[in-house]
Amino acid sequence: MKATVLVRPKQGILDPQGDAVTNSLQHLGFAITDARVGRVIDLDLGDSDREQARASVERMCEQLLANPLIESYEIVLRDNGA
């Protein structure tokens, strides 16, 4: 089982990196109104059951991968080889 964890700044939380990217893209002429910058973490969980894998990755997010005060996370699971 493989997992991708997407960590994002929570809605309403100041994201200076996103603001800088917004400004740069607008400067380049792209018609965007907002950009938010987060983090991607790819995990290889070896041979594991899907539900166990999800529970395990959720614990990883709560303990280390995201700071729940300012960040939200999303877990995408896929089978090996997929």
């Binding site: 100041l14 200076p16 800088a20 280390l64 991968l65 700071n67 005060l69 300012i70």
Partner: protein, 231 residues
């Protein structure tokens, strides 16, 4: 009857770079300063602990997020739980927030720029183990040097902290976008403090300011009060 020098440990993480300055400053203020290795699971006999500045574990993932799981931090958390005095400076503050020993979180500076200069601070509370030598509303000049010092507390947390008097130091000028200019906070019990400015870099007038000595000497005083006296 005289009390012995208080023993104050300074934890050295991989990537700490202000540990030697902290050891030097504490010794200059008449403490016995003891280096503590991050891999040690137990602390030596100490009257206080300082978590120094630096870039522990390369600041990977989030500042302090990995250091908080180091073996020495388990011992520091137990030390704090039993009422021991703990001061986190800069990266040490970030580690204490990530560990849940202090409220809030330190985010990238609003400007996204690394800030490295002397800043003016105002002392909000003098009835703490870390600021007893300061006067109420005293202005201190102490250097900062950080890229992630923008302190934030969401929801009602800030109001709760104010009601409990946990905000101890504020910037007296714009520095990093910190919520209501908060520069230093204590935990509810008052035995753990974190601040972004570096008092250990300001203990001798030769270095531009000796105001940092007020904070570190307050800690040394409080640690001495806790040290067993010898006859």
């Amino acid at each position: 009857m005289s009390s012995r020098q208080p023993r104050i440990g300074v934890v050295q993480f991989p990537g700490s770079n202000d540990d030697r300055d902290a050891l030097w400053a504490l010794a200059a203020l008449d403490a016995e300063a003891v280096p503590v290795w991050h891999a040690d699971r137990a602390l030596p006999d100490l009257d206080a602990v300082v978590l120094p500045g630096g870039f522990s574990y390369g600041d990977y993932l989030r500042c302090g997020a990995i250091a908080r799981f180091s073996p020495a931090m388990s011992a520091v958390a137990e030390f704090a739980d039993s009422g021991g005095l703990v001061l986190g400076i800069c990266n040490g503050f970030q580690i204490l927030c990530e560990a849940g020993l202090l409220p809030g979180v330190l985010r990238p500076n609003e400007s996204l720029s690394f800030v490295c200069r002397d800043v003016r601070l105002r002392v909000d509370r003098t009835d703490t183990a870390f600021t007893a030598r300061c006067a109420q509303d005293q202005e201190l000049v102490i250097p900062v040097k950080h890229g992630e010092g923008c302190w934030f507390a969401g929801g009602d947390l800030y109001d709760e902290l104010m009601a409990r008097g946990q905000v101890v130091l504020r910037y007296a000028e714009p520095v990093n976008g910190s919520l209501n200019d908060v520069a230093g906070v204590v935990n509810e019990r008052g035995n753990v403090m974190g601040l972004m400015p570096h008092p250990e870099h300001a203990v001798d007038p030769l270095l531009g300011s000796a105001d940092g000595a007020l904070i570190l000497a307050s800690l040394v005083d409080a640690a001495r009060d806790r040290a067993p006296t010898t006859v």
